[in-house]
């Protein structure tokens, strides 16, 4: 392997898509910026859409002596394992990854913990007894988020019907809007999503349909519909990325499954103060109670 350590602490990020997606990739890129600013690291980013490009990107960074390489998505796991064997001096962090293999370690985001809270609130909020979810591509974290959301709603509204729609991409915002409208016509009056840029259309559908509510995802999205966003299930990607990078820099890092949930503060449930009044205090009290118990149960 290459990996001759060069001057300075170097951190690289490989995203599976454009960093202008205002969500998953954008968050990671923001994290990289913080790594540069807070740790004084030399940083680099590249976008690698296909397995061919992904493995190449990881390998190139490792060969150039980067100390940490983030593969931003489960799809980097296999490639990282192949590369890591040749580059023991580089730490490979796979967000949403699967398992530890030598110097490959996953970062797991339990966004679904926040989505469960969103579900609890949604169950209390729905008048029709139908809730809807719009997903981009059916990836594991997205499906988990949906399932937690549905399960949460079933607690506060037994027998709630939860529906979902997948778009098969993360770009087509107009399709997101139509998917949301179709759900609304099916009776859904509370929506949640995990569709990155395509979800902007979901917000539009909610804005233009009176009597509907929405829960944001990934970032605090209250600004997208200030009167209708009840809360957002937030991943603070920069915080997680910075934390891991700092560990490596300070020599404290040991390969492990690093999992972030509500307890870590990386996953948060951000309530929109302007919409808080939509729900009775009793429901909020329940949400807070569940949040605390999830956080307390965390490893």
């Amino acid at each position: 392997g290459g990996g001759g350590q060069r001057e300075g602490f170097r951190v690289a990020l490989v995203t599976p898509g454009s960093i202008a997606d205002a969500a998953w990739n954008a968050g990671a890129y923001a994290g990289l910026g913080q790594v540069r600013d807070s740790l004084g690291a030399v940083v680099s980013h590249v976008e690698a859409r296909t397995p061919a490009e992904q493995e190449e990107a990881l390998r190139t960074y490792a060969a150039e002596g980067y100390a940490v390489v983030f593969g931003h998505g489960f799809e980097f796991q296999g490639a990282a394992e192949r590369v890591a064997a040749d580059h023991p001096n580089t730490v490979f962090i796979i967000t949403s990854g699967e398992r530890v293999r030598g110097n490959v370690a996953p970062l797991v985001f339990r966004l679904h913990e926040a989505s469960r809270l969103a579900g609890l609130a949604a169950g209390a909020l729905t008048r029709t007894g139908v809730i809807g979810f719009v997903g981009g591509i059916e990836l594991p974290p997205i499906r988990e988020a949906y399932e937690a959301w549905a399960a949460g709603a079933a607690v506060t509204r037994p027998g709630v019907e939860s529906r979902f729609t997948y778009l098969n991409n993360f770009d087509d915002a107009a399709a997101g809007r139509e998917a949301a409208h179709a759900l609304i016509r099916q009776g859904a009056d509370v929506l949640h999503h995990n569709a990155d840029a395509a979800a902007l259309g979901v917000f539009q559908a909610v804005r233009e349909t009176p009597g509907t509510w929405i829960f944001g995802a990934n970032a605090d999205q209250a600004a997208l519909a200030p009167e209708r966003v009840v809360a957002s299930a937030v991943i603070d990607l920069p915080r997680a990325i910075l934390a891991v990078a700092r560990e490596v820099k300070e020599g404290r890092f040991t390969p492990r499954v690093e999992s972030f949930g509500l307890a870590s503060g990386v996953i948060r449930f951000e309530v929109n103060p302007r919409a808080r009044a939509a729900l009775p205090d009793s429901v909020w009290a329940l949400v807070v109670r569940v949040r605390d118990s999830i956080a307390a149960a965390a490893p």
Partner: protein, 348 residues
């Protein structure tokens, strides 16, 4: 070789000029956007040709599917059919190859690998069979039908990796890793897999087929002037177009197999970044000449590899390279048009 396949050097110079035009435009755009053009272009060069590793593992690796699909597109084109659906056929082939790899994983590699290829060829051909039938039976333009099937293929591959072919744990939208016996050998010290040799062999075979065989000559005749080929050459031009379309679908399918068994080792939803479309440009740049396609495939592979390096080293978004590719294609088209003599006026 003889008359029909004389290799004219003029296209090479126009292609080189077109490439230069694309790069100059890129440099100007980068300067306008506040980047350092010299640094960016330098990074591009290093990413594509800067080392043996970069050349093989970045440039040639990317070139492989472009060459293979480009060869198929050119075959169809010269037989008189326009296959815009290689993207879909690529996925059909990838699905078929993955499936076959699991069925055949117990066989030794020299058996398993060709059988996965066969499966992929069949998968790609099957995917284009619908356009062939629609064209022959109902006169539906294959440009439209192959295009529409791309959307269907996208959904199909998603269905496969979430459904019947999902990895056993049922968590990730991907297949399990294919058995070692179905994986292609790598060039030692690089990531370049034997699929590149397949691409070269295919190009040589196609050059031979088109230039030297009676069948290839008839195919070209049928594509160049279907009526004349029918009346004088006594060939069924529609049938040749259909066969050429089927073959091009099969070849795009093969590219899917090479990608799965040489690069990703599993079926993924995003296996292709649009190889099917870029390969059209690759084939055009070589004017459908098989050996030229190898060269232009490597050029496009280099551009995309270089784009990655440009983003890594200079922070320039890699999508920018599409602009360069577009400029190269358009410049070649313009240069070609200038060199072409105009046909005679009506009534002369």
């Amino acid at each position: 070789m003889s008359a029909p396949s004389t290799f004219d050097l003029r296209p090479l110079t126009t292609s080189a000029l077109a490439l230069a035009a694309g790069l100059v435009l890129l440099a100007a755009g980068l300067a306008a956007a506040g980047h350092d053009p010299a640094a960016a272009l330098g990074a591009m060069w290093r990413g594509a040709f800067g080392s043996w590793y970069a050349f093989t593992s970045a440039t040639l690796l990317r070139a492989t599917p472009l060459i293979v699909i480009g060869l198929g597109f050119a075959l169809a084109l010269r037989g008189g059919a326009l296959n815009i659906g290689a993207e879909g056929q690529f996925y059909a082939g990838a699905i078929a190859a993955t499936w076959a790899a699991f069925q055949l994983g117990a066989l030794p590699a020299p058996l398993a690998i060709p059988l996965t290829w066969l499966a992929a060829l069949a998968g790609g051909a099957l995917w284009v069979l619908v356009p062939v039938v629609l064209k022959r039976r109902f006169g539906v333009l294959e440009v439209i039908s192959t295009l529409l099937l791309n959307f269907v293929a996208e959904a199909l591959v998603s269905l496969m990796v979430q459904g019947p072919m999902q990895e056993p744990a049922g968590i990730y939208p991907q297949s399990a890793p294919i058995p070692a016996a179905a994986r292609l050998p790598l060039l030692p010290g690089t990531r370049l897999h034997a699929g590149f040799l397949v691409a070269l062999a295919l190009a040589a075979a196609m050059a031979f087929l088109l230039a030297r065989t009676v069948w290839g000559f008839r195919l070209r005749a049928a594509g160049a002037a279907p009526r004349a080929a029918e009346l004088i050459g006594r060939v069924d031009a529609g049938r040749f177009a259909g066969v050429a379309l089927l073959a091009s679908g099969a070849i795009a399918g093969l590219a899917g197999a090479l990608e799965v068994s040489g690069v990703s080792y599993a079926l993924y939803q995003n296996l292709s970044p649009g190889y099917g479309f870029t390969a059209i440009a690759v084939a055009l740049l070589a004017r459908g000449h098989p050996l030229g396609i190898v060269a232009s495939g490597i050029l496009f592979g280099a551009l995309e590899a270089g784009a990655g390096a440009m983003q890594r080293e200079a922070g320039v978004p890699s999508v920018t390279v599409y602009v360069v590719e577009a400029v190269v294609i358009l410049a070649v088209l313009l240069a070609d048009a200038r060199g072409r003599s105009t046909p005679a006026v009506a009534g002369a």
